[in-house]
Amino acid sequence: MAEPVKYIDRTREYYLAQGYKKPYQWAHFDDVPFTKLSKPLAECRVTLVSTSDVAVANEDGEGRDKSNEFLVGNAYSLPTDTPVERLFSRQEYYDKYATHLDDVNSYFPVTRLLEKVQEGRIGSMAPRCHGVYTAYSQNKTLGVDAPEVLKRCREDEVDIAVLTPV
């Protein structure tokens, strides 16, 4: 198997070649927070958080139904019981030469999570899943978006979260 792609090196070279002078500063921290599971997984309520720009399509299939999104900063929500056929993504930051985003569960595994609940591996699914739009500001992500996601997780009494970037 070939080595994993070194995205930080690769994007630095790519954008230098495009004429950008200042390389993007990827977030880096020495300390990493860690929380242990406080109860068995089979009793935990899970939510899904993604940067895949996943959205609910309007009834007519055109455009995006924003009625239950409650956008704050770059954070928004999706009712978990939305039929998966109505979910879609117009995310552009993916490898369009190698793959596609036609199967929501390949980046937003909401059906697979519901199956794990049915199997009894996880206790339950929260009523809402969440999306965070890609922001150019790490301060904004930490100051607005992440606190908003936390607030909604607490409102829904979420125990654990699965996160999927695209």
């Binding site: 990493v32 930051y93 199967d103 390949s106 595994p109 930490l142 996601v149």
Partner: protein, 130 residues
């Protein structure tokens, strides 16, 4: 996304990330990462391969029980079915990551963000003078 994971984790919610860009996530530093060595876009498995998607999610959930410390990375035992060639061509001149409309949208978003930043800077300067 790693920043949100860290924030939830710091506030008492255990998290697991399922991601394809191992170096970016590990440079930021998260508690639990399931690394899936697939092209950007399908961290949770090959499209429409529900068995693989279920296995990948299962591996991620296992990490809630098995990870003992932060920066735990597990590598999912899968290779991209169409071969590894995508690794050679991502972010190259031959295959620009964004082009056409996607590139225009990106430039627009950048310009919007620059304006917000400038406005904020102006306000800080003005507030400082009063």
């Amino acid at each position: 996304m790693s920043l949100v994971a860290r924030y939830l984790e710091a506030n008492g919610i255990p998290t697991v990330m399922i991601a394809t860009a191992r170096d970016i996530v590990e440079t930021c530093g998260v508690s639990r990462l399931l690394f899936v060595d697939f092209p950007l876009g399908n961290p949770c498995g090959v499209p429409f391969d529900t068995d693989m998607q279920s296995n990948i999610l299962g591996l991620a959930l296992d990490m809630f029980e098995t990870a003992e410390a932060p920066r735990t990375t597990v590598v999912a035992p899968y290779t991209w079915p169409a071969g590894e060639q995508w690794k050679e061509t991502i972010f190259t001149e031959e295959q620009p990551f964004l082009e056409g409309e996607a590139y225009d949208n990106w430039m627009e978003a950048k310009a919007r963000y620059r304006k917000i930043k400038e406005a904020r800077y102006r306000k800080i300067k003005e507030d400082g003078q009063t």
